[in-house]
Symmetry: C2
Subunit: 334 residues, 2 copies
DNA sequence: GTGAAAGCGCTAACAG
DNA sequence: CTGTTAGCGCTTTCAC
C-alpha cells in the first residue's frame, strides 16, 4: 500500500494525499476527509524510508553511553529517551564500552545511519589527550553533538553539566566543619566530571590545610564489584592510612565504604562519616542510609533535550550550561 | 557525495560502484581497486536512507521496555544491544512505561519506523486479558516479535524464558527444608513471570501443607521506593502476621526486607530468612549479603538474539525456549 | 565484467 | 485548492 494506491482509491493526486498526510494547509475539508477515510480504511502508513530519503532525516538521535546498565547512565538514558520521543524523535542506543576504539566505531556507525544528532551520556567520552577527542570534533562537523556531564569546547558541540566541583567542594567543607580532619577521597574515574569532583575536594582540603599524601585514593577495579572496593579499603587501613571520613565519587564506592565500616566494627557516622555521589537508589539500600550529592540528573537531561531541539530547529543555543547540585543529608554524616 | 560522483570520478557506472560497495562478485580486481581508491579518497559512505528504501530494511531492531532504568531491564538492554550490534543490527529503544496505552503507541511507532523485529524486554507486556495482548499479535503480523521472560502463543512471536516456577519452587523447598514454616511471599507484580514465580512458591507451600491466608503479600507501590516497602512489612507485623522467612519476587523487595529486619532488631538469618530474585548487584549492597535466584539473564539474551537472527535469516526457529535458574546462596539464609 | 535504466515511495516546487 | 513532475541515492534486473 503506497501513496499511489491511496491517491487512486480516493480519486485525487499523490500530492494531495501527501498534503493531508503532512497536515499541510490548503486542502479542502471535503477532499481531506475523503482521503483520510481511504487511509483509515486501508490502515495505510507512509513508508518511513522513502520519507527519510526525501527529507534527509528520519528524526532519530543517537545515544552513546559506555554501559547502559550502570545505575546512573541508565537513569539518564531513561530520561533522555522519554523526552526525545515526546519531541517526536527516536533514539538509537549504542553501548560503547569504555574503550576509545569502540567509542569511535559507534560514533561512525551513528553518523553512517544519518542520525540527526548524537548525545554522549556520561563524562567518560572526553579524554585527557586532546587528540583523543578528535573523534568527537569530527562527528560534530556532521551533526550536533551533545555532552551530558562532560565538556569540550569545539564547534557544534554543546555541553550540559552539573557543577561537580562546587558540589564536592561544599560537601567536603561541610564534613570539615563537622570537625573531621582525616578525610579520604575515594574515586574510580579520571573522566571529565571525575576530575572536577576531585578538584573540588582538593580545593576544600587545601584551603583548610588538611590535604595529605594519602587523602586521594583511587580504586581501579570493576565498577560493580562492591566486595573488591571494600577489600581495597581494608588494605588501606592495614597499611596504616588513617581516616575518619570518606567522600566517595560515586554511591557504589560509598556503599562499599559502609560495608567496610561494618566489617571493621566502626560506627557510622560516629567513627566514620561517609558521603556518596549521585543520590541514586543505592542511597536507600544501605543501613544507615547514605548522605549523597544529588546532581539533578533529570533537570540536566531536560535541558539537554531542550537545547538539542533548539539547535535542530535552527536556533542559536548556549554552548555550555551548568547546574548546581545539592547535598542530600541522610544518616552517614554527623 | 553520492554514488554518481564516485562512479564519475572512477570512470565506471554506478552499478559497478554499487557492486564493489556490496562486495558483489563479478568485478575485476582492477576496477574494484580503482573504485575503492576513489571511495577512500573522498571518504564516501552510502546514504543509509536510500539504501533502506531500496532494500526495505535499515537493519534495526526495536527494543521495548517499561523502564530502562530498572536494574534488571537495564542489564537486559545492555546485553541485547551489544549482541545485536555484533550482528550488524542497531537498536531503537522505547521506554514505554507500564500503561497498556503507551505500550501500544510505542509498538505502532516502531512498526511505522519499519524495524526488522521487536524485542519486548520483561514480562509486563503480557496481560491477563487475552484481548489486551492483541497489540502484540497484530504487530507480529508485520515483524517477528521476541519476548524476554514472557510467553504468548501466537504466530511469529518467539519466547525465551527463565523457568521461574521451578526456581521459586526449589528456593521455597530449600527454605522449608531448613526448618521454616511461616514463610511470606512478598511480590509486586502480576506479570507473566510474576505469576509463574508465585505459582512456584504456592506449589511448594501447598505440597508441605504450609500455605496460609497471609502467606501471599502484595506490595503495590513504586518499584524503587524501598522505605515504602519496609513500611509495608512493618504494618504487616503490627497486624500480627507471623513470619520467619521472606521470599521476595525481586531483589529490591528483599532488600527492603533486610531493612525491615534491622529496624525490628531481628537477626538475619537467625530470626528471619530472606531470599531475593534476580541476583542483581543489590545482593552485594546489603548486610548481610543477599541469597538470591539468578535467572541467567545473559544466557537468555544471547539465545534470544541468536533466535532472532535465525528468523531474520529465514530459518525455522523454536517458538519457546526455557532456561533454568540457580539459587545463589549468601548470608540471608540458614 | 560492465553499463543503462527502471524502480523503491515520498516530498516539494511549479503550474494551473 | 489541486495535479504534474522532478528528484532523493541506491539496488537490481537485463542487455551487451
Amino acid at each position: 500500500m503506497t501513496i499511489y494506491d491511496i491517491s487512486e482509491k480516493a480519486g485525487v493526486s499523490i500530492a494531495t494525499v501527501s498534503r493531508v498526510l503532512n497536515g499541510s494547509s490548503n486542502v479542502s475539508e471535503k477532499t481531506k476527509k475523503k482521503v483520510l477515510d481511504v487511509i483509515n480504511q486501508y490502515e495505510y502508513t507512509p513508508n518511513a524510508f522513502a520519507r527519510g530519503l526525501g527529507l534527509n532525516t528520519m528524526k532519530t538521535i543517537g545515544i552513546m553511553c559506555a554501559d547502559s546498565s550502570d545505575l546512573y547512565l541508565a537513569k539518564a538514558i531513561y530520561y533522555i529517551e522519554q523526552k526525545l520521543r515526546a519531541n517526536g524523535y527516536d533514539s538509537i542506543l549504542c553501548c560503547t564500552g569504555y574503550e576509545l576504539e569502540t567509542k569511535m566505531s559507534s560514533m561512525n556507525l551513528l553518523i553512517t545511519k544519518k542520525v540527526d544528532g548524537i548525545i554522549l551520556v556520561g563524562s567518560n567520552f572526553i579524554y585527557e589527550k586532546e587528540s583523543d577527542n578528535k573523534y568527537i570534533c569530527d562527528a560534530a562537523t556532521q551533526v550536533p553533538l551533545m555532552l551530558l556531564n562532560a565538556a569540550l569546547d569545539a564547534p557544534n558541540v554543546y555541553c550540559v553539566v552539573s557543577d561537580d566541583f562546587t558540589s564536592m567542594y561544599d560537601a567536603t567543607m561541610e564534613m570539615i566543619n563537622a570537625g573531621l580532619t582525616d578525610i579520604l577521597y575515594y574515586y574510580n574515574s579520571y573522566s571529565y566530571s571525575g576530575k572536577r569532583k576531585l578538584a573540588g575536594f582538593k580545593a576544600a582540603m587545601e584551603e583548610k590545610g588538611l590535604l595529605k599524601n594519602h587523602s586521594l585514593q583511587y580504586y581501579g577495579g570493576s565498577h560493580e564489584d562492591i566486595p573488591a572496593m571494600t577489600e581495597h579499603l581494608k588494605k588501606l587501613r592495614q597499611k596504616g592510612v588513617p581516616f575518619k571520613g570518606i567522600i566517595a565519587a560515586d554511591d557504589t564506592l560509598a556503599l562499599a565504604s559502609i560495608k567496610y565500616a561494618k566489617e571493621m566494627k566502626l560506627k557510622v557516622p560516629e567513627d566514620l562519616s561517609i558521603i556518596g555521589y549521585n543520590n541514586s537508589m543505592l542511597a536507600h539500600c544501605c543501613d544507615p542510609e547514605l548522605t549523597s550529592i544529588d546532581n539533578k540528573l533529570e533537570t540536566l537531561c531536560q535541558h539537554l533535550i531542550t537545547t538539542l531541539m533548539g539547535i535542530l530547529g535552527g536556533n542559536e543555543m548556549p554552548k555550555k550550561t551548568i547546574f548546581s547540585g545539592e547535598l542530600i543529608k541522610r544518616d552517614t554524616t554527623l
